[in-house]
């Protein structure tokens, strides 16, 4: 790849992943082993190896295709692909990068709403209490998604089994955690 070409493509996702995520998508030679072993591949619209292929082209159109894909939200983060990759391409790290970029650019696939809502509810609970408050997180998730009746049958059983705490955990210094969240937010703006 010539320097001129590098300048021309500028901020391709591949270049940013190389710089920020320290992963070279060009290392992938498309053997397809990641797609073959991926437990979520059957629910994906673009196979994992094809996501890497899209990024390798460094075309804005293909970058956007990757960011709009459902695949990045169906990736469970099981680390099977990178464990088996003959080139050790850290595809889970690439997926993390793509999810964050997809959210930042408001391109997340519409069917990913529930997955995104879960992550947001989870992180919001941690930001507030310093530790995950499961019941609060589930309530927040239901508000975000409108799935009010999902798992209601499970709730009484879990309560009587002692698996649902009604109050957030004590013991964490939640102020410190809230400050970490605030500074991370600021660092992203800088």
């Amino acid at each position: 790849m010539s320097t001129q070409h590098e300048e021309a493509v500028g901020q391709s996702l591949a270049a940013r992943i190389e710089e920020e995520g320290e992963v070279s998508v060009v290392d992938c030679y498309q053997c397809g082993k990641c797609s073959a072993g991926c437990p979520a591949a059957e629910d994906m619209d673009v196979a994992p190896s094809q996501v890497l292929r899209l990024l390798q082209t460094e075309s804005p159109k293909h970058d956007e295709r990757a960011l709009r894909s459902m695949s990045i939200w169906m990736c469970i983060g099981c680390e099977t692909c990178v464990s088996r990759c003959p080139q050790e391409v850290d595809l889970p790290r690439v997926m993390d990068f793509l999810r964050q970029e997809s959210l930042a650019r408001n391109l997340a696939h519409q069917d990913a709403d529930d997955v995104v809502a879960f992550h947001r509810a989870f992180m919001s609970s941690v930001e507030k209490a310093g530790r995950l408050f499961e019941l609060g997180m589930i309530g927040d998730y239901k508000l975000r998604t409108g799935h009010f009746f999902k798992d209601l049958g499970l709730a009484p059983t879990m309560f009587f089994k002692g698996k649902i705490g009604l109050l957030p955990h004590g013991g964490a210094n939640q102020v410190e955690v809230a400050e970490i969240f605030a500074r991370a937010r600021q660092a992203r703006k800088d």
């Binding site: 099981c78 947001r120 499961e134 089994k161 964490a172």
Partner: protein, 295 residues
């Protein structure tokens, strides 16, 4: 023996029995679990999937608290917590840029971070000790299920064999159990999709339990709260996908060891599972009736 202890959020919630059995087994083995003062959440899957900076800073914050408390190593029984702590430590030590970013967010210098151990690593060191303390042999045929995050990726975990781990099998054998050979040891259960993509959890769990049952396991043994939640709490979603519904119980490795050490069922939280534990073992306090593997 003393080890830094990071229980993580789920051990006082959905995985309460993991925390209870962990504490009971540690007491029986004279392992002092020194809980990290004021520990906070590691960020788990949601952290690394949505925010790279928090995915490093939250675990680093925990490890620095352990460091400040004079703990040289930290054991995290939850496989997801373990993986996040170990990954963050690895990345901060490997990348100067990552370290600088985290230091800025935490507003302190990072000199060294404690080593992170998973539960199986700790118990493996105690295997002979455990075997010597067995009072009631756990004579069950079980499927040891490791899931993803204890073993992968190997460059970070550096633990056991990536595709065919054996440490849990050895522990089960040390207390009298018979671990089966099977093909789903490190298959994924769907992890954090339990709430948001329950159908995926049902499909993946069905694959795992179908294999365990077909190979005549009487229980599945796990060392991860997410694996447990997905195979136990989500059993109805799994059974919807199985031609023959299964009532195979899912036990934490600490419960298996606890039973063999003669610890009462109540202290091990055996009654907290949704799928009833009906093993013929005396500690389960159930009549020794033969239980069909498949309903």
């Amino acid at each position: 023996m003393k080890v830094g202890y990071y229980p993580g959020c789920s051990l006082s919630g959905t995985a309460r029995e993991f925390g209870e059995s962990m504490a009971a087994v540690a007491r029986a083995l004279d392992i002092e679990l020194a809980e990290i003062p004021e520990w906070t959440c590691c960020g788990s899957s949601s952290g690394h999937m949505t925010d790279r900076l928090l995915a490093l800073a939250l675990p680093a914050h925990v490890l620095l608290k352990a460091h400040d408390a004079g703990l040289a190593q930290v054991m995290a029984p939850c496989a997801a917590c373990y993986n996040r702590l170990a990954t963050a430590r690895h990345e901060i030590e490997a990348s100067r840029a990552a370290k600088a970013q985290v230091e800025k967010v935490l507003q302190r210098k990072i000199e060294s971070l404690p080593r992170v151990l998973n539960l199986l690593e700790l118990l493996a060191q105690e295997r002979d000790h455990i075997a010597a303390k067995v009072t009631r042999r756990f004579e069950e045929t079980v499927a040891c299920y490791y899931g993803c995050l204890l073993v992968r990726p190997a460059r970070i975990t550096g633990f056991d064999r990536t595709e065919d781990p054996v440490e849990m099998d050895k522990l089960v054998a040390a207390v009298g159990g018979k671990p089966i050979n099977w093909s789903c040891k490190t298959e994924c259960c769907g992890a954090s999709f339990s709430l948001s993509k329950t159908s995926v959890v049902g499909r993946l769990g069905a694959k795992i339990l179908r294999d365990a049952v077909a190979r005549k396991a009487q229980a599945v043994v796990v060392a991860c709260p997410m694996c447990h939640a997905n195979l136990d709490l989500r059993r109805s979603s799994i059974n919807r996908r199985l031609a023959a519904k299964t009532s195979i119980p899912v036990l934490y490795i600490t419960q298996v060891i606890g039973m063999a050490l003669g610890i009462p069922a109540k202290q091990l939280g055996l009654a907290r599972h949704l799928v009833r534990v009906t093993l013929p073992g005396p500690s389960a306090q159930t009549p020794p009736a033969p239980r069909p593997a498949v309903q």
